[in-house]
């Protein structure tokens, strides 16, 4: 019952200098390739060290307009072109600018129940597994869930 039992070693990483458009394409391509939905990816520097995590939440937060209530109320204008123009501001933004840098990581031998505790208390859905300086895997909440509760689906 440790992290290495459930961690996914086929992980994909983003670079800090990637654009948001690249990140979005990578989310889609990875989800398609792995056959499961990817909601967040690790960001590693040129030496492979973990520098941050970028999730769909971070990107959605960034593209969300400030006065979102007004967006829900307008009926007299077509919101599509205005939203397209809003997306233009993503152009100059890089992954490093909006990624989460306050990271919680685990080791390959971290106990699964400790991982569950971290995920519950800190509202974390995925945890990078780090061995020394190197990223060795990622543990998803769903994998922990099905591993711990597998007797009910056997």
């Amino acid at each position: 019952m440790i992290a290495s039992d459930v961690m996914d070693t086929r992980f994909h990483c983003l670079q800090p200098e990637d654009t948001i458009a690249t990140a979005v394409r990578r989310f889609k391509a990875t989800s398609d390739a792995e056959g499961k939905k990817i909601f967040g990816m690790m960001v590693t520097d040129s030496r492979g060290r973990l520098t941050g995590m970028l999730s769909m939440h971070d990107i959605l937060l960034f593209i969300q307009p400030k006065h979102v209530e007004i967006w829900g109320e307008i009926e007299d204008v077509d919101p599509e072109p205005i939203f397209d123009a809003l997306l233009e501001r993503v152009k100059n933004i890089r992954v490093a600018d909006i990624m989460t840098t306050e990271l919680v990581t685990i080791k390959p031998d971290t106990h699964l129940l400790i991982i569950v505790d971290l995920m519950i208390k800190r509202h974390i859905r995925r945890l990078p597994v780090v061995d020394g300086d190197a990223v060795v895997g990622i543990v998803y909440r769903s994998d922990v869930f099905y591993h711990l509760l597998r007797r009910f689906i056997a």
Partner: protein, 295 residues
């Protein structure tokens, strides 16, 4: 002497009706790079800085960061070294009119909202929040003369040209960023128009663009066009003020560049704070409709 209280659209509204509850804070030993990232991510114009005891010690605004960029300070500089403004406070149950007056008197763009304890900050309120609330409030106002008389009633409405300011300055696409910063601070602008020929808009350099350029290590000798945002958020001088406000709120911009009715040349600028001032105290339609309705 009797105190005459003018009734305006804002009368009866309180700070808590318009404030944002998510206040972004950082410790004074945090660095500029982290501060800029936070401001980009949350589209915030300023961060509240805490002292080691967790009490609010100051505010770092986009203007302060622009100053640090101009001075060539490294991105690893601690926020404590560039802290300039002290935060100004109001309370959740203060009137919105009083809050707006305080902002205008002191020439500040935002007020933080105090909670019960001395270190407790429960919200922040800026011009844009007030205009956003007003916009929604007026749209739903059942007492509006326009609503009463129907949408086709020929009532005078404020146009952009009544409120806008003339375009005071613009820069060329090849001007260096340091010149743009000088222009922004000497005119107290929030953004500078980049014009390829007089009045011909090519882009805009805002304080946010400069903040991003600073974070990405663009030298201040680089050309303005390398960091500008294009196309320019513009609107015609003949457009209705309400439409212009809607455009600013939807596009998340704090100003629109105003073009002449029949040409693409930029002749003026309309800021959200101009609009706030105009709408808040002098909304004649609203005051009159209240008198007619006997409220």
């Amino acid at each position: 002497m009797p105190i005459v209280e003018q009734r305006s659209v804002l009368t009866g509204l309180q700070v808590k009706d318009a404030m944002r509850r998510n206040v972004h804070r950082m410790a004074a030993d945090g660095v500029i790079a982290a501060c800029i990232r936070r401001m980009i991510k949350y589209k915030s114009n300023a961060l509240l800085v805490n002292d080691p005891a967790g009490r609010p010690a100051g505010v770092v605004s986009r203007t302060d960061l622009m100053g640090a960029y101009y001075a060539g300070l490294p991105l690893e500089t601690a926020l404590a070294d560039i802290l300039a403004g002290v935060p100004r406070f109001c309370y959740p149950d203060d009137g919105l009119e009083d809050a707006l007056d305080l902002m205008q008197q002191d020439g500040i763009h935002r007020l933080y909202v105090h909670g019960a304890g001395p270190a407790e900050v429960v919200g922040v309120i800026g011009f844009a929040d007030i205009v956003g609330l007003l916009y929604r409030y007026c749209r739903f106002c059942a007492q509006s003369r326009r609503k009463a008389k129907g949408p086709d009633a020929a009532l005078p409405r404020l146009a952009v040209r009544d409120v806008m300011s003339p375009l005071a300055a613009a820069c060329n696409p090849n001007d260096p960023i340091e010149m743009v910063i000088e222009m922004l601070s000497s005119h107290r602008f929030g953004a500078v128009l980049v014009a390829s020929a007089p009045g011909e808009p090519a882009g805009v350099v805002s304080k946010t663009d400069l903040m991003v350029a600073y974070l990405h290590g663009v030298p201040t000798s680089a050309a303005a066009e390398s960091v500008m945002t294009a196309p320019v958020a513009a609107c015609s001088a003949e457009a209705l003020l309400a439409e212009a406000i809607q455009q600013m709120l939807l596009k998340d911009v704090q100003r629109l560049f105003i073009t002449a009715a029949d040409a693409p040349a930029v002749v003026g600028v309309l800021s959200l704070s101009d609009a706030a001032r105009f709408r808040s105290g002098t909304c004649k339609a609203c005051v009159a409709s209240r008198m007619l309705a006997g409220v």
